[in-house]
């Protein structure tokens, strides 16, 4: 039985069903369309399973409409991510959508978005890849624009996203053009051998265009500026899919083109990837630490994680260039595991943030709080996601962080001088990023959910509906399972590692073993902690008095405790902002309004502090200003006088005759 054909056909069927379900009347639309997209996701997951067990290629259709599908373990990993995320997000969306996000257009766009992402992961030829990529961009743009009638920020975010995704698409098209013209092959399967004979200049050109184009989709600095604008403005289930699945496809493109198709390259490729990845990781997490908008914080955290994955890919390239397949295999394994883990915990975090947004109407951490008692399930699920994002056991982020650090540490031994200098810097950057990520998510969970509510809206929050809780719960379960027992995923990742001779990661249910000797046993760590914790808790309870609850908080004996006295997200991050203020460059505005009669008496003082994206203000705004100035100057060419236009045509004809006669 041709499983591949069945599952691919299934995907097509559910895509059509999802589109048709969107035409139902509103009261049945959400359930039907959600069901269809959920099944689309589940079928995608099944396709991923087929890709691991029976990798195959197939051609669907013929002639100009021929669609080349390739199911292989690398694509399978991303099909896995997209499928499970789509399942969870669809389930969640059934309870979440309302108003513009429950419209026909939104559901159709959602279905096509998921389908096109899956098409990209299954693409066997350049044509299919490109079609899938562009439709993914267009449908996600439609989804980002869902609330455009309500908010200017959405329109601005949509514009930035549209411009940058099309720019990225152009770069990718250019890269494919170069690639196909070099080898003559447009099927991915045969591209590696075809391109290996290309000139180094051409191969480097392909590499740089791939880095630029896929880096833009993955959200690497300096082309990340669309991420913190677009992801917060999209509806939360869309943000989860974009941050978890779509951004991962940028890394998929990088791995596919650079590691598989190009294979080997000079050392500067790896160093360049290390540099961009390191800067993205550090800059992303710094912006996340000082962000007070919850979804903006999560978006910058996506940049951070994609930066870490890029660091892993860069390290792998360095090791391949030095003919050391074992550390290279560990590094690629780390990159893939980072992407898989990130997809699930980031999806969970965005869904939980959406639940908070729906319940309180707020994204601003400075006004949230007290949700752990008002929305207990959502709070616990967010805590699981935050634990994973902070890379702490028992959640899955810890395993991928460990793998990344092991690959960098193992690679140090026996490497050339340049690599030996670069790797410890990479370790320091990864470690600092990890520390700052802990600070970020302690802030997000601690300020957003704990203590007392800082505003009326937070006080009136209620728990999310069942569908939303179920979607989040599914992802939380996956996060915990991957954190404790990542056996299956590691096995699939080992299959997906296309570097020859590199299978250094083995995993049993209790332990992950690397070829160099290092090993990690997450269940052991968790078991020890739980055992000792329970033992001590029991021991002290046996001795002690009953607990007194509901007492007044000891706020130094103050009689008027209010929620204004609690720490806010801004104050929590203030020491770190001060330490890193050269990079973040916060802007401060103090305006003093004196009393009308005398300027020595002050009536009002206004203080505003903002941390803008430095890359945007120092790099993009000047470029946009130049572009606008050029456009303004160009208006002088068309003032409206017909005489002038005729004159232009006359001039153009003269030039044309002159050129022809030459």
């Amino acid at each position: 039985m041709n499983f591949a054909a069945v599952v691919v056909l299934g995907q097509g069927v559910f895509t059509v069903l999802g589109t048709l379900a969107s035409f139902l009347p509103p009261n049945r639309r959400a359930l039907a369309a959600g069901l269809a997209t959920g099944l689309l996701g589940a079928t995608g997951f099944a396709t991923g399973m087929v890709a691991f067990t029976r990798p195959t290629t197939m051609e669907v259709g013929s002639g100009l409409a021929q669609v080349s599908i390739r199911l292989d373990p690398l694509g399978g990993i991303f099909l896995l991510i997209i499928g499970l995320l789509a399942l969870a997000a669809s389930c969640y969306a059934v309870g979440y959508v309302s108003g513009p996000s429950a419209s026909r257009t939104s559901w159709i766009a959602l279905t096509l978005f998921i389908a096109s992402m899956q098409l990209v992961a299954m693409a066997g030829s350049v044509a299919v890849f490109v079609v899938g990529w562009e439709s993914m961009a267009v449908t996600s743009l439609l989804l980002v624009w869902t609330e455009h009638q309500h908010s200017r920020a959405v329109r601005s975010a949509g514009l930035w996203y549209a411009a940058m995704s099309q720019l990225g698409f152009l770069l990718i098209l250019g890269m494919f053009a170069l690639l196909v013209s070099t080898g003559g092959q447009s099927q991915f399967l045969n591209m590696h051998s075809a391109v290996s004979t290309g000139s180094p200049l051409l191969r480097s050109g392909v590499f740089l265009l791939a880095l630029a184009g896929f880096g833009m989709k993955a959200g690497l600095v300096p082309v990340h500026v669309w991420l913190p604008r677009a992801h917060p403005e999209a509806p939360s289930h869309v943000s989860a899919l974009m941050s978890g699945a779509m951004v991962s496809l940028g890394i998929y493109g990088l791995i596919r083109i650079v590691i598989e198709v190009l294979g080997r390259g000079p050392i500067w490729w790896g160093l360049l990837l290390l540099a961009f990845g390191g800067v993205s990781a550090l800059y992303g997490v710094l912006q996340a630490v000082v962000a007070t908008d919850l979804k903006r914080l999560l978006a910058y955290s996506t940049t951070e994680n994609m930066g870490l994955a890029t660091v892993a890919i860069g390290a792998a390239l360095l090791f391949v260039a030095a003919d050391r397949p074992i550390p290279a295999g560990v590094a690629i394994g780390a990159a893939l595991l980072l992407v898989v883990n990130h997809a699930f915990f980031k999806g969970l975090l965005f869904l939980a943030a959406g639940a908070v947004l729906k319940a309180t109407g707020l994204r601003d951490l400075d006004r949230l709080g007290g949700l752990v008692s008002r929305m207990p399930t959502t709070a616990r699920l967010f805590a699981v996601g935050a634990l994973a994002a902070a890379a702490l056991p028992p959640a899955n982020g810890f395993v991928s962080e460990w793998l990344l650090l092991q690959s960098l540490v193992q690679g140090e031994r026996g490497s050339s001088t340049v690599t030996a200098l670069a790797l410890p810097i990479a370790v320091a950057v990864v470690a600092l990023t990890a520390g700052l990520a802990v600070a970020t998510f302690v802030k997000a969970f601690g300020i957003g959910f704990l203590a007392r509510p800082r505003s009326e809206a937070a006080d009136l929050a209620v728990e999310s509906p069942m569908a939303m809780r179920f979607g989040m719960g599914l992802l939380a379960l996956i996060v915990v399972i991957l954190g404790l027992f990542p056996t299956a995923v590691l096995h699939w990742i080992a299959l997906a590692t296309t570097i020859p001779g590199a299978r250094p990661i083995t995993a049993t249910w209790a332990r992950i073993q690397l070829a160099g000797g290092a090993s990690l046993a997450p269940p052991m760590l968790v078991a020890l902690t739980v055992a000792f914790g329970a033992l001590m808790a029991g021991f002290v309870r046996w001795h002690g008095r009953p607990r007194r609850t509901g007492a007044l908080t000891w706020g130094n004996g103050g009689v008027r405790l209010s929620s204004r006295m609690e720490y806010t997200a801004t104050s929590f991050a203030e020491p770190l902002q001060r330490v890193f203020d050269n990079i973040l460059r916060p802007e401060q505005d103090v305006s003093v309004t004196p009393v009308a009669e005398s300027r020595y008496l002050v009536e009002r003082v206004g203080y505003e502090q903002r941390v803008d994206d430095v890359v945007e203000t120092r790099f993009y705004q000047p470029l946009l200003a130049i572009g606008a100035a050029w456009g303004d100057w160009g208006r002088r060419l068309a003032p409206g006088s017909v005489h002038r236009y005729v004159g232009y045509v006359f001039g153009a004809l003269l030039i044309a005759f002159a050129v022809i006669s030459l």
């Binding site: 752990v372 890379a391 030996a420 739980v530 914790g533 002690g544 509901g550 929590f572």
Partner: protein, 319 residues
């Protein structure tokens, strides 16, 4: 995993748990003697803990399960680390799980739950302590990872038991520049993580100068007992790790009752030595202003980085 290795692991964890408050007592007693006072005796922290266990724990209104769970998780992770790291023997049942990054992550989990508890109190001091603690924890990460990264090349692994065993057998490493750089970096990390001078003053009463204490102002009774006990255990963990990395003599590398006994005695002696150095040293330093602490930690990172470079180039040159 033999019976003896399990016994070794249990001996180690019981020893660390018992010695924690005694180490704090020794530090306080040293300070008292230097100040010309009699002091309360080195067993005083144990009396404090036992008394605290019998007092009433209080949960304020507006707090949640996070506040109640934090001391338990803190204690659980601290004891888990006490079992994993080779203090008394490199042959305990959990020796092959004592990966450095895992140990650092477990310590960080403890810090994180205490920070969340500080935020859960909803007071300004709790938030302030939490904010400062997490700033220091974030900046200490690169320093500690680089420092032990520098020690791993000769052992070929980041497993602490393997590293310590290698250093016992290959004494030449102990006097190398790498070791000296790493010991200074690790001492700075210990001071920062354990909340001692010059980073934090554990005996201060001024809330605006507190870092660790500010987070626990709301705790009482058995919650407080667990938190104080876990803090002292963490001090033993960090000092013990530094001691075993630089004076690895006495650590049991074979299974055997005599080796275990020697390991226990050696560990206590080394701990006393490092504790005495810390205690006397604290008399002569004042607490740093909070915004100078990142400079100190950046110095530790630089030392760690230099140590890694030295480990690489010196090995290359000689090997």
């Amino acid at each position: 995993m033999t019976v003896f290795s399990v016994v070794t692991a249990l001996v180690q964890v019981v020893l660390v748990a018992a010695v924690g408050p005694i180490l704090v007592g020794v530090l306080r007693q040293l300070r008292a003697r230097v100040e010309g006072r009699v002091g309360a005796g080195i067993l005083q922290p144990w009396r404090d803990l036992i008394k605290l266990l019998r007092r009433e724990p209080i949960s304020a209104a507006g707090t949640s399960w996070v506040l109640i769970l934090a001391p338990v998780v803190l204690m659980g992770t601290s004891l888990a680390v006490a079992v994993l790291v080779p203090y008394v023997s490199t042959r305990s049942a959990t020796a092959n799980s004592s990966d450095l990054f895992a140990v650092v992550a477990l310590l960080l989990v403890g810090t994180v739950v205490l920070t969340l508890a500080g935020l859960d109190t909803g007071t300004a001091f709790g938030g302030m302590g939490a904010s400062r603690e997490i700033t220091i924890a974030a900046l200490v990460e690169p320093a500690v990872l680089l420092a032990v990264f520098a020690l791993s090349p000769p052992a070929g692994s980041t497993n602490l038991a393997v590293i310590v065993a290698r250093r016992v057998s290959d004494q030449a490493q102990l006097a190398s520049p790498v070791s000296l750089l790493v010991v200074v970096a690790l001492m700075i990390v210990t001071l920062a993580e354990a909340g001692r001078l010059p980073v934090d003053n554990p005996a201060t009463h001024l809330e605006l100068t507190m870092i660790h204490e500010a987070m626990v102002l709301e705790y009482s009774g058995r919650d407080l007992a667990l938190v104080e006990w876990a803090s002292s255990i963490r001090l033993v963990i960090l000092l013990g790790l530094t001691a075993n990395l630089f004076l690895p003599w006495g650590v049991a590398t074979q299974a055997g009752a005599l080796a275990l006994l020697v390991g226990v005695v050696a560990f206590l002696a080394k701990l006393l030595l490092f504790g005495a150095v810390l205690g006397i040293g604290e008399v002569f330093i004042a607490k740093f202003r909070l915004f100078r602490v990142p400079e100190l930690l950046a110095g530790a990172v630089v030392l760690g980085f230099l140590a890694v470079m030295a480990a690489f180039f010196l090995v290359q040159g000689s090997g």
